[in-house]
C-alpha cells in the first residue's frame, strides 16, 4: 500500500480555559488514502472541528503529529505550513466568503495569496466557476447568492490552488436537503474527475452514506471505530456507531411503536441482493406470526442499495423464536435493538 496522503499520529489537543483544561482530542490515529472520500462523524462537541483544524494546523495539536504526504507538519516552519495549506483547500458550514469581493475575486483570492499573476488567476477562476456551474454569476457579490450558490463559490475557491485534499467542516449543515444533495453530488464529482482527496466532517449519517468510502466515528474526543461505510452500516461495533446508524431508525420507530406493547425489536439489514418486501412477507407466512414494522428505509451506499428495517417481534415467546429462526435460516443479517435505542 502506498503512503497515505494524510496520517494522523497519536494526536491530542487540550484547550486551556478559565475553567481548567478541556480535552478535545485524545490519541487519534487515522490514515487517509489519496483519492478517497473520508468521513468523520460524531455528535456535537465530539471534537470534529478541532480535528479537522488540526489537520491543516489552524489549531496546533498539543500531542502527536500530522504527516502530509509523509512530511511532518509539526516539524515545519510557519512558512512551510502556509505553503502546505495551499495544498489543502477548506470549506465551511458558514461559507466564509469575502463579503466585499465579488464571486470571481473570491475565487481569485487564494491565487492572489499564492502570487499567481492576475490574468492567469482570472482564467483559472472562470474555469472553476464553470466547474461549479456559476460562470454567469461571476460579477455577483456573496450577499446576492443563495446558500447553495455560496457554497459552490467556496468550493471553487478551495479548488483554485489545485489542492490535493479538501477539508469540509459541516459543509452542508446550513443547507436544505435538496441543496445538500446537489453539493454532495458536486463534491463526489470533483473527487472522481480531479482525484482530489476529500475529508468530510459531519454529524449526519446521511452525508456519510451518500458520498464517503470510509468513515471514522469520533466520540468524546476519541476514535470509536474506523472502516468502510458499507461495513459499518451492516455491522456497527461501537455503541456510538450503533446509535448513529440506528439513530434515525430508532427515532422513527419510537414514533410508530404501539403503546403498551413492550416486545423486543430487531433491526434487519438488506444488502442489496434481496429486496425488503419478500423477506418480510415470506417471514410472516412461514412463521404465522404478526410482526409490526416500525421503520423501513433503503438507501444508496456507494452504488449499492442498502436497506434497514426495524420490526417488533411477536409478543409471545414462541412467535418471536420462530421469527429469529427464520431469519437465521435465510441468512439475513439482523440484530436486536435495545429498548433505549428505540
Amino acid at each position: 500500500m502506498e503512503t497515505p496522503i494524510i496520517r494522523i499520529q497519536n494526536l491530542g489537543k487540550e484547550f486551556k480555559t478559565a475553567n481548567g483544561p478541556v480535552r478535545a482530542l485524545q490519541n487519534i490515529n487515522l490514515e487517509v488514502s489519496a483519492g478517497e472520500i473520508f468521513g468523520i462523524i460524531g455528535l456535537s462537541g465530539a471534537g470534529k472541528s478541532t480535528l479537522v483544524r488540526c489537520i491543516n494546523y489552524l489549531e496546533v495539536p498539543t500531542e502527536g503529529d500530522v504527516l502530509f504526504e509523509g512530511k511532518s507538519m509539526a516539524a515545519m516552519s510557519d512558512h512551510e505550513r502556509r505553503r502546505t495549506r495551499q495544498s489543502m483547500g477548506m470549506i465551511f458550514q458558514q461559507f466564509n466568503l469575502l463579503a466585499q469581493r465579488n464571486v470571481i475575486r473570491n475565487v481569485c483570492f487564494p491565487l492572489e495569496l499564492a502570487g499567481v499573476p492576475k490574468k492567469e488567476a482570472r482564467e483559472r477562476a472562470m474555469e472553476l466557476l464553470k466547474t461549479v456551474g456559476l460562470e454567469d454569476r461571476a460579477q455577483a457579490y456573496p450577499a446576492q447568492l443563495s446558500g447553495g450558490q455560496k457554497q459552490r463559490v467556496a468550493i471553487a475557491r478551495a479548488l483554485a490552488t489545485r489542492p490535493k485534499v479538501i477539508l469540509c467542516d459541516e459543509a452542508t449543515s446550513a443547507l436544505d436537503p435538496n441543496t445538500t444533495k446537489q453539493i454532495l453530488e458536486l463534491l463526489k464529482d470533483i473527487n472522481r474527475k480531479l482525484g482530489v482527496t476529500i475529508i468530510v466532517i459531519t454529524h449526519e449519517m446521511a452525508v456519510i452514506e451518500a458520498i464517503c468510502d470510509r468513515v471514522a466515528i469520533i466520540d468524546q474526543s476519541r476514535i470509536a471505530e474506523v472502516g468502510a461505510v458499507s461495513e459499518i452500516f451492516l455491522n456497527p461495533r461501537s455503541a456510538i456507531g450503533r446509535k448513529l446508524i440506528m439513530g434515525e431508525a430508532a427515532a422513527q420507530a419510537a414514533g410508530t411503536a404501539v403503546s403498551g406493547e413492550s416486545g423486543r425489536s430487531i433491526r434487519i439489514i438488506f444488502d442489496g441482493r434481496e429486496s425488503a418486501e419478500p423477506v418480510i412477507s415470506n417471514m410472516v407466512l412461514a412463521c404465522r406470526a404478526p410482526v409490526n414494522i416500525m421503520y423501513a428505509a433503503t438507501r444508496d451506499i456507494q452504488g449499492k442499495a442498502m436497506g434497514q428495517m426495524v420490526v417488533q417481534l411477536p409478543p409471545d415467546r414462541e412467535g418471536a423464536r420462530r421469527v429469529i429462526e427464520y431469519l437465521e435460516s435465510i441468512r439475513v443479517p439482523y440484530e436486536e435493538v435495545n429498548g433505549d435505542e428505540v
Binding site: 491543516n56 495549506r85 463579503a99 466585499q100 487564494p110 495569496l113 456573496p142 450577499a143
Partner: protein, 221 residues
Amino acid sequence: MKFDAVTVNMLKTGIWESFYMTALSSLFAYLIGLPLGIILVVTDEGGIRPIPWLQKILGVAINLLRSVPFLILLFIALPLSKIVIGTRIGSPAIIIPLTIAAAPYVARVVESSFRELDAGVIEAAQSMGASTWQIIWKVLLPESRPSLLLGAALAVTTILSYSAMAGFTGGGGLGAIAINYGYYRYEPFLMWVSVVLLVVMVQIIQEAGNRLSRKSDKRIR
C-alpha cells in the same frame, strides 16, 4: 450685529482654519491610530499574531492618553508644538495636541470596526496559507471598509469639535470666533453664526461618511 464684508471674511477664514486644522489632525491621527488599531486586534489573545504583553501595554497607554481632558492635554502638548512647528500659538500649533488626543481615539474606533469582522473569514484566509500581512491587507482592511468609513466620520467630527478649543490658545477657526465674540466680547449673534456653521460642517462630514459607507458596502443587496 452687521453682516459686513469684514465679518464675512472673518467667517470665511474661520471655516478654512477649522477645515484645515481638522483635516490635517485627522490625517495624522489616522496615520498613527490606524496602525495602532491593527496592532490591538492582531496581537490580541486569539488574534492572528498573539502578543498579549504588547497588546496589554498598548491598551493601557491608549486608555491613559484618552483619560486626559483635551483642554489639559492642549496646554501640556503646546511646548511640543513649539519644538515641531516653531510656535505654540495660532491654528497650526494646535494640530500637534489634536493629533495626540485623536490618535488613541482613532485606534479604538478602528479596533472596534475590525472586531465586527466575522472570525470565519479570517480562518478561511488562514486555511489558504495567508500570512499575517496578507490577512491585514487583503482581509481585515477591505472587509471592514464600510465600518471604517463610518468610524472615520465619527472620528473626524469629534476632531472638529476639539479643534473649536483652539481659541483658548490663540488659534483660529469657527470655535475661536464663537469664544472670542460670544464669550469675551458678548456678541451672541456672531457666536450663533459660527456655531451654526460648525453644525453644518458636522452634518456634511457625517452625511458624507454615511453615504460613502453605504455605497462601498457590498453586503447590501
